[in-house]
């Protein structure tokens, strides 16, 4: 007799990911879909996908998806959620999308306590456009547009979104997790689940920042990329829960 040990979540389609080998996007898609299955919310979920490598995430999701303009996902999600308060609306955004061009939309949906879930993929680079400096690129990081390494004198410092949003009264849950190891991935799933549960329970804005890899544009093998995430990113972007408000945000 056979026993099912692992099953693809139902809310994830059969389509093969177009993401590069060793890229975190695939891992996070799977975690999000597992959570959607476990909470049995597939039929009432609407994703807002970004402009970035996840711009065609709808190919992998078995639920409704709206493609937003670059950085505008939280505003689009706001419109959806205000129109459909009983639906589950989440955005899935990269760091260029969320922390650069869409900073205003991010901060204001957070401070309004908009009852949405934000999944934030921080890979310290603009993946889709071929590896330019992101607002989250680390000091000294070599990218196409910081070929001599990010010079903090002329190119400024990385943005720590979780810490920044934690100063606001609006958000209900803010956490930073990582995809570099099995224990960390388990933690990531717990945080993602909480961020969705919060919305279902009407608790308001939840964001999970997921430290991620982009081996292709970092010029590394998948293994080296995980190593960099662990050794360079986690020290700059400490993991943990930055805010967790339990009371209902009315």
């Amino acid at each position: 007799m056979s026993k099912t040990i692992y099953e693809k979540p139902h809310s994830l389609t059969e389509t093969n990911f177009h993401y590069c080998p060793g890229c975190s996007h695939g891992i996070v898609h799977k975690l999000v879909c597992e959570v959607i299955d476990e909470l049995e919310i597939e039929g009432k979920t609407i994703a807002v996908e970004p402009v970035g490598c996840a711009v065609t995430a709808h190919n992998y999701f078995n639920f409704d998806v709206v493609q937003a303009a670059h950085g505008r996902a939280p505003a689009v999600a706001t419109g959806l959620k205000r129109a459909l308060p009983d639906r589950v609306v989440f955005t899935y955004q990269g760091d260029g999308d969320l922390a650069s061009i869409g900073t205003a939309e991010t901060v204001h949906s957070a401070t309004r306590g908009e009852n949405i879930t934000v999944i934030f993929i921080n890979n310290t680079i603009y993946g889709m456009t071929g590896g330019q400096m992101a607002p989250t690129s680390l000091p000294g990081q070599v990218t196409q547009t910081s070929p001599y390494g990010r010079d903090t004198h002329t190119q400024g410092y990385p943005v720590r979104i979780c810490e920044m949003l934690a100063t606001l009264d609006g958000p209900s849950y803010i956490a930073r997790v990582s995809t570099d190891s099995v224990p960390h991935i388990k933690e990531a799933k717990k945080a993602i689940k909480k961020a969705f549960e919060n919305q279902v329970n009407g608790k308001g804005f939840s964001i999970v920042e997921i430290l991620s890899t982009c081996p292709t544009n970092w010029g590394m093998s998948p293994v080296e990329a995980m190593e960099r995430l662990r050794k360079e990113m986690i020290p700059y972007y400490p993991l943990g829960v930055f805010k967790d408000v339990e009371e209902v945000n009315e």
Partner: protein, 352 residues
């Protein structure tokens, strides 16, 4: 029995929108459309609707995009500088074939410009404003009653054709008070929205609201399809009003507030025995070009509160078969009937 109420133009838009089933309004403060946001802020919470003051016009139009994709009647309003910011979102909304209504109470430009009425956003409104091959349905009212009427129409037309609609007014139309009868505005006609991204409930295939098509032939096919829809609109939706055109030596073309100035000018000219007539486009896109083939003046004169934008459409509409002249004031200055009368006399002197 129907009843007239005295209302500001901007407020009449709000009331007409609510009566048309709009329950989602996303705004950002700017003069001279403020009364509309204020009206919605007051009314929406009382009727279970949403009024949200966004962080910017960029956010507001993207909230409209989200709400429209969910299948509800959504609206935003602004004035010129704010419409520039909304242009990105309008391009996406048009590309996603979503219905919505956007109000532009035009003020003088470019840049921050002024806060007095202008018509210098005609190009922006009728040519798209944002990037790509697309159009908005553009409606230009010239009274408070018509503002209310066309707001209701805008929701219906936008839903029928899945094309975003714009009410193109100006500071004066928005802020002047006139009697309005809401019993005279069209009833809402709701279209089916099987495309709405409102959750599958496990009962249908997923819906995707998207605007990215990396395969050139696929994108071209979609643009072609939309263009066919635009052709239907061009054929069916041209609206205008005209008067004194039958025997006219000169026909003055103007829209919105300016058409009221022109009406007076035509009266003066006629009283002096000068054969002047007028055409007032109500749809600016589609431009009512058919009527230009049915009239036979010796010249046209486009009068606008701009440096000459609609005049290009007049030239196209009459195929330059007769001279097309232009008179305009801009920056918030409203042309006077006398100025128009003098311009007409000048033109007719040249013609004779």
């Amino acid at each position: 029995m129907s009843e007239k109420v005295l209302m500001k133009g901007n407020e009449a838009i709000g009331e007409a929108a609510i009566r048309s089933g709009c329950r989602h309004f996303f705004g950002y403060p700017i003069t001279p459309q403020t009364e509309l946001s204020a009206y919605m802020a007051k009314k929406m919470p009382k009727i279970g609707g949403v009024f949200l003051q966004a962080e910017s016009e960029v956010a507001a139009i993207n909230m409209v995009y989200g709400a429209a994709s969910a299948g509800v009647r959504a609206m935003t309003s602004s004035s010129s500088p704010g419409i520039s910011l909304k242009s990105e979102g309008l391009s996406y909304i048009a590309a996603a074939d979503l219905p919505c209504v956007v109000v532009n109470m035009v003020r003088g430009g470019p840049g921050l410009g002024g806060i007095q009425p202008a018509q210098s956003d005609y190009f922006q409104a009728t040519r798209g404003g944002g990037h790509g091959d697309y159009h908005l349905i553009v409606l230009a009212p010239n009274s408070v009653q018509e503002l209310a009427y066309l707001t209701a129409e805008a929701f219906n037309l936008s839903e029928e054709y899945r094309i975003p609609a714009m009410i193109l007014g100006d500071g004066t139309i928005g802020q002047m008070m006139e009697p309005v009868d809401f019993d005279l505005i069209p009833e809402p006609v709701y279209a089916q929205k099987p495309w709405a991204t409102n959750g599958t409930e496990g009962k249908r295939e997923k819906n995707v609201t998207e605007t990215l098509f990396l395969e050139p032939s696929e994108l071209e096919e979609r643009v072609f399809e939309r263009e066919k829809k635009y052709d239907v609109v061009r054929e069916n939706l041209q609206r205008y009003k005209s008067h004194d055109t039958d025997d006219a030596d000169i026909i003055i073309v103007s829209y919105g507030l300016t058409s009221r100035v022109v009406e007076t000018a035509v009266k003066i000219l006629r009283s002096e025995g000068i054969k002047a007539g007028a055409i007032r486009p109500i749809t600016l896109w589609p431009f009512p070009e058919k009527v230009f083939k049915e009239v036979h003046p010796k010249a046209f004169l486009s009068v606008e509160m701009s440096m000459g934008q609609m005049v290009e459409d007049v030239k196209l509409a009459c195929d330059c078969s007769v001279p097309v002249h232009f008179f305009g004031r801009t920056g918030g200055v409203i042309p006077t009937p006398d100025e128009v009368v003098n311009k007409v006399k000048e033109i007719l002197k040249e013609v004779e």
